[in-house]
Amino acid sequence: MPRHRTRQPRLSPVGALLAALGALLASPARASFDSPGQASFEFLADDAATYPGWEDLPPDEAFLPGWAEAYFSSDASIFGEGGAFVWMGFSLEGPGGPRSGMLLLDLDLERAPFDGLTPMPAHTLRASYLEKRGDQVLFEGVASLGEVWIVDVLFHEDDQGGVEGDFAFVFEGKGGAYPGSRAFVRGHFYTEPSPAQLRSKYGISPVEPGSDVDTYVDVGCAGAVYWDDEPDPGGGCDCEGDTSDDGSAGSDSCEGDSGSSSSVDSSSCDGGDTGSGSSSCSGCEGDAHAGVAVARRARGGPLRAVQRWLPELALLAGLAWLRRRARR
């Protein structure tokens, strides 16, 4: 599959320098997701009945619509960089007053199907549910039934990824300590920004419904964005100023850029390469020249003159002060 590239606005030289300095030490242990989000679902709390199968659930009328704020974190996932721990918190009414519910999922997204139709294999997800009033635990559930379908996912080298999926769960009391069950059906979660918003931001074409495609995004090379279905899209192109474009990219372009293609091969990209066509990697020479010009101006500016003559000025001022003092 050809590797596609899209382009984002370039960093300023100072920004690139600072980013490079930060990235130098901060590059390891990056994750894909670290993002707030939302979830919606239909919920049933039953303190008496349990449901051994999906077909045993009561009719739709028994369920109440619910909404939860969510947070997605790869750092907190037991599955690591390719996983996402999902915290969903919501309020609900129950006997004795309001309660808070927390649905906790841990998803191994690197081993998940992404067509939105095939559920994630059981070994690629963890789920638990907690219901509390204040500090009192009212229900602690383990999943007896559960399905998660990933609709769209965008992995990112630097925590800026997004994921969207559907879910359904039935929880029973942990260790028999809590009677009854809790059921979530027609659940839907997504990060904010959603994968669709990120695709639009990065200029990546939207995923077709039902297609099993995940995308890995790598922002590097002075702000250029690379994406691929393999987890190292930036590996073949480390040149500074790389700005190769694909046909669907936006109007952003670096000065002096001459490379453009609708299907770009990233197999080679040496610094300064300015070719166009299917193996292009233009070097943004205009920007490089601007950076040099700024540096030259700084070296010849007033600050340099002050630096040069400051000791002499200080000496003269000191002598003047001593002379004045001696006259008194």
Partner: protein, 212 residues
């Protein structure tokens, strides 16, 4: 009438810059252990005052005829915030947050002689912050997680060069996260203002510098 304060200020600055007793004494290397307090910013529910310890290694010198000295420095600092109980008003619940941060930074330090043995230190650098985050609450089992964040730091302080080989200083540093962050899991769970998306740390530390 002569603008005496302005004249005095104009004289004082170059005199201060050329004060020989406050100039560095020809050493080029610095090993500077430090300890102090770290204040975490961007987390509204956590008071987050931590203890820190670390050390700076630096190498530098001065240009002939120009009083300030310049050092390239490398610093490692670890800040511990310990267990802190927080109240989550949205759920009327209590939890305990435990955070620690290690900073690995490098940059440029400028040392400007003021008067006598007193010197002004200015710093600018960048690097990484390695955070360790834990949270526990009745019934809630959240796995501790680590994050690596790119940071910039700015610092200023006063330094007293007691001997040729020894100096004592008080340094204030501000470290800010330079990469785009959407939030922090624990901060979001607790409903903290801004969800921990704009984090930073202030450091106030006592330094003991060994010059050679």
């Amino acid at each position: 009438m002569q603008p005496r304060p302005i004249l005095l200020a104009a004289l004082a600055l170059p005199l201060a810059l050329s004060a020989s007793s406050a100039r560095a004494q020809g050493t080029h290397f610095l090993v500077e252990p430090a300890t102090g307090l770290t204040f975490s910013h961007g987390l509204s529910l956590e008071e987050a005052v931590g203890l820190e310890a670390g050390a700076t290694l630096a190498v530098g010198g001065k240009w002939k005829g120009f009083p300030p000295r310049f050092y390239a420095y490398f610093r490692f600092t670890r800040s511990l915030f310990g267990d802190e109980e927080v109240y989550v008003s949205s759920r009327d619940a209590h939890g305990v947050v435990n955070r620690a941060v290690s900073f690995v930074t490098g940059g440029l330090r400028t040392v400007i002689p003021l008067f006598w043995r007193l010197r002004l230190e200015l710093e600018f650098g960048g690097g990484a912050a390695f955070t360790e985050n834990g949270y526990r609450e009745s019934g809630l089992d959240i796995r501790s997680y680590d994050e690596t964040l790119g940071v910039l730091e700015f610092g200023a302080g006063l330094n007293l060069r007691l001997f040729r080989w020894l100096s004592l200083g008080l340094l204030y540093n501000y470290t800010l996260v330079v990469e785009e962050e959407r939030g922090d899991l624990i901060a979001h769970m607790l409903g903290e203002e801004g969800s921990g998306a704009e984090r930073g740390w202030s450091h106030l530390s006592l330094t003991l510098g060994f010059h050679f």
